[in-house]
Symmetry: C2
Subunit: 202 residues, 2 copies
């Protein structure tokens, strides 16, 4: 039997995700989360013991869904252009579905790098060296223009993720609505790989 009702535990996790994503771990209070979840503060401790554990539960379970998908894409045997398209699509779709994750990752990674990386990937890092080798090979074969793999990788990730980090700024600076912004992000699933491939192809 699957229980379709929302349990207290579920509403806590959802509420915590919402509050943490807006205010960050330090900015959020347990009281707020309890209110948002429509339950009592003491229940938070009953289910998750303390704030740190609640935070980790919410955050890393979300992240660990992504990590294997991405790892597979990066290490796959796809051709370079196809792989770039696939990586961009995955990253952008993830960010659309979980707009809070990028901000989370950036702030946490700059506080406790080793701890964060360890918890996110659980010692199972994406195989960037393999991807780098693939890029170098394409350059040597003369299929694409000369570029250092590090720069290409940075460029790919940057254009996929950064617009989500700067969303409030872009909304304000470009004078567009949230709907128009969302539309732009959908476009970027095609636009970003196109922009990259236009740059490196001969």
């Amino acid at each position: 039997m699957v229980n379709k009702q929302t349990t207290s535990e579920d509403s806590i996790l959802l509420a915590a995700k919402t509050i943490f994503s807006v205010k960050g771990k330090d900015g959020a209070s347990m009281q707020e989360i309890a209110d948002e979840a429509g339950i009592n503060k003491a229940l938070l401790h009953y289910y998750f013991r303390n704030k740190d554990l609640l935070f980790e539960k919410v955050f890393f379970t979300e992240l660990q869904k992504f990590s294997p998908i991405l790892k597979n894409k990066i290490a796959s045997d796809m051709g370079l252009f196809e792989k770039i398209e696939s990586i961009c699509e995955t990253y952008i779709q993830m960010a659309i579905d979980n707009p809070f994750v990028p901000v989370f990752v950036i702030s946490e990674i700059n506080k406790q790098p080793e701890l964060f990386i360890h918890k996110m990937f659980a010692d199972d890092l994406p195989d960037f060296p393999k991807f780098s080798k693939q890029i170098e090979r394409e350059v040597e074969l003369g299929h694409i223009k000369a570029i250092q793999p590090q720069h290409l990788v940075m460029n790919i990730l940057s254009m996929c993720v950064f617009p989500f980090l700067m969303k409030p700024m872009f909304l304000y600076g470009m004078k567009i609505s949230k709907e128009q912004y969302h539309e732009l992000m959908l476009q970027r699933m095609q636009e970003v790989p196109k922009f990259i491939i236009d740059s490196i192809k001969k």
Copy 2:
């Protein structure tokens, strides 16, 4: 007479900049900052009255140095390619000189967007519509490939700033030293505009 000695006020500002940049406003404590500055907690309040004012002092004085420079670049009458080169160089140099600023901006902008933007630019926003018009004109004239200005602007900012946000991740993922990383960032002052121009030129 110029006083070459480091005053308490100076050491507080430096310490605050360091601590705030790593832990954020909420994560940092006044005690930590006092310790880092080698002075007493009460002195922080003597000089800056409270935590919010200290934070604003450190952060916005730093930011307001940049804002007019950037504004001028974006609204200038330079040709498009030249302007892109100039914007990238400015952004990347800023980030190299103040590696803590990007992380700051991202976390604060996602907490209190309107307040932040207002304090950063003091109602004197960069003229993005003008820059957008310039891009549209170049497309119409057939000088560059068709691209929406919003995407091009996002791409420029992304590739300049994002690598600084992900520094700890890149260091770990690419297995490089801090010196090598710094070298990569210096390269990007040429590499990023080159990458962009390669993509949009016909």
